[in-house]
């Protein structure tokens, strides 16, 4: 029976929720799932991983793992993989996973299959699907590397509860002195969500007319009670209205939220590429012929400065 290693994430000693997705995704490959964490001590929430089907939760501890330690984590995970005979190692394609997974893959001497939206074991072979050209096409690949090293796109592998009486263990590990050291994390505005991880993304484009007007989108985001992030089109990021981190599209982030609301965005092909895998798309635009309406499930034609505040009121009523 094959064993899959699911590399989970913690920050400040608390499990990151995306870990539930990693364990859920790892299950699709069959076999037993061992969830692994690198931390300085015990991780709050790690005991929840059994609920999502982890047969075993292993915390690799080292005093140097309080903050993300790319070199130490890569070494500890690669050594565990080499010793354990896993058929696959599954990461999340979060900011940290994108940094860590290639390091581990290189230490194992294999390629990484990054940012998968589907993975399966078909007749003993691991098959993965991943968006390329920012989602304008899907690449299906057969992964014959030993082990297979995969990372999963956040928000795609909806966590499934399948409780197991999983076991937990803590293993102290030694790693080489770190050269690359995370000195501090400057927190973004309190409660700000990343567009790549938010369940709801509200993006604005040139139709907002000027940077200050993004406050109408921020108010709508707040009405969703902390589940929504504000994104932006390339045009307004290039104009310096919004931070690069908020850009959705081929040269920004590819997002798959439950609900994507495009406001004053015409829908350039490179933007559509970045959000077309959203579960439900709403477009609000004054031009009824805007290409965004071609991919939107629901469209409202009209002046966003009238439509969005009304929507904010309605959402407040629901959450009030």
């Amino acid at each position: 029976m094959s064993a899959i290693l699911a590399v989970c994430e913690q920050r400040d000693g608390t499990l990151r929720k995306v870990s539930h997705e990693v364990v859920t995704g790892a299950h699709r490959l069959g076999g037993t799932v061992e969830a692994i964490l690198c931390a300085a001590g015990s991780v709050a929430g790690a005991d929840q991983l059994g609920k999502f089907g982890a047969d075993k939760v292993v915390t690799l501890t080292n005093a140097g793992f309080a903050k993300y330690n790319p070199e130490g984590a890569a070494q500890a995970i690669a050594e565990r993989v080499k010793a354990g005979g896993y058929t696959a190692v599954v990461f999340t394609a979060s900011a940290t996973g994108k940094d860590l997974a290639p390091r581990v893959a290189a230490k194992l001497g294999v390629g990484l299959v990054a940012d998968c939206t589907d993975i399966a074991a078909e007749g003993g072979t691991i098959v993965a699907t991943r968006p390329v050209y920012a989602g304008k096409a899907l690449l299906k690949i057969k992964v014959a590397t030993k082990p297979a090293v995969l990372s999963l796109r956040p928000n795609v592998f909806t966590p499934v509860e399948r409780p197991k009486p999983g076991t937990a263990e803590t293993v102290a590990v030694n790693v080489a002195a770190a050269r690359v050291v995370v000195r501090e994390i400057k927190a973004a505005e309190a409660g700000a969500l990343d567009v790549a991880e938010a369940q709801i993304v509200i993006s604005g484009g040139r139709g907002l007319k000027e940077p200050a007007n993004f406050k109408v989108l921020e108010e709508l985001a707040r009405a969703f009670g902390g589940q929504a992030a504000v994104g932006a089109s390339r045009a307004v990021v290039d104009a310096g209205w919004r931070a690069h981190a908020d850009q959705v599209g081929q040269t920004g982030k590819t997002v798959s939220p439950t609900l994507y609301i495009a406001v004053g965005i015409s829908g350039a092909i490179q933007h559509l590429a970045g959000m077309r895998t959203s579960k439900v798309i709403v477009a609000i635009n004054k031009d009824k012929d805007a290409p965004i309406f071609k991919v939107a499930d629901y469209g409202v034609v009209g002046d966003l400065f009238e439509v969005v505040p009304r929507l904010t009121e309605e959402i407040k009523k629901l959450h009030g």
């Binding site: 993300y68 290639p102 050209y133 690949i141 439950t258």
Partner: protein
Amino acid sequence: MNIAVCIKRVPDSETRVKIASNGKSLDEAGVKFVLNPYDEFAVEEALQRKEKAGAGEVAVFCLGPAAAQETIRTALAMGADRGVLLQTDAVPVDGFVTAQALAAELKSGGWDLILFGKMAIDDYNQQVGPMVAELLGLPCVTAVAHLDIDGQKGVAEREIEGGIEVVEFPVPAVITADKGLNEPRYPALKGIMAAKKKPLELKPVQLGAGAIEVVALTPPPERKEGKIVGEGPGAVAELVRLLREEAKVL
């Protein structure tokens, strides 16, 4: 300061993707190829660092087909000093194979910095930079949006969910560039003319097969036809009803 920049030739972001008749790759007919946008930040960073140091060399390395010479010329026109094309028929699907070829080429260069874009906008593999670092035993920071280097010590900032990670590292190092690191310059006519005379070395490479095989390249599933709910703020109540009752996302 001697800096190597690894670049890639990719289809322009406005490309409409058509699948080739083999069902496994992009139909390149009529496709405009460009220097990968994230690599522009890497090239620009290298040029600024060299200018600031007042001495050194910026060399660009590209693994790709003969046509990628044009991509290298773009970087030379921006101001890089010389280029090397590791010539191959096709760029491997397996990022580790690419990393091995680049690492072998860069190994004996004595580089102060090796720069990459954080990813290529075609295959989204996002792995070759850190893999080259591993193969060369160099420290690496990925997706860097702000970079300070003072002597042998560097400080980089990279975006993570809900914040910015401030990372310290020693030089020499491998850095991958994110958008925001700088504003890439456009090649001026003078630069374009000068680029034609700059050295561009062609080195055929034999690549391993790798263990990652393409089964199929397919268009994404079509989204089902949507509907216009209505016009103006009067349509909002119906929109919210549909989101709740039909789409069930509220």
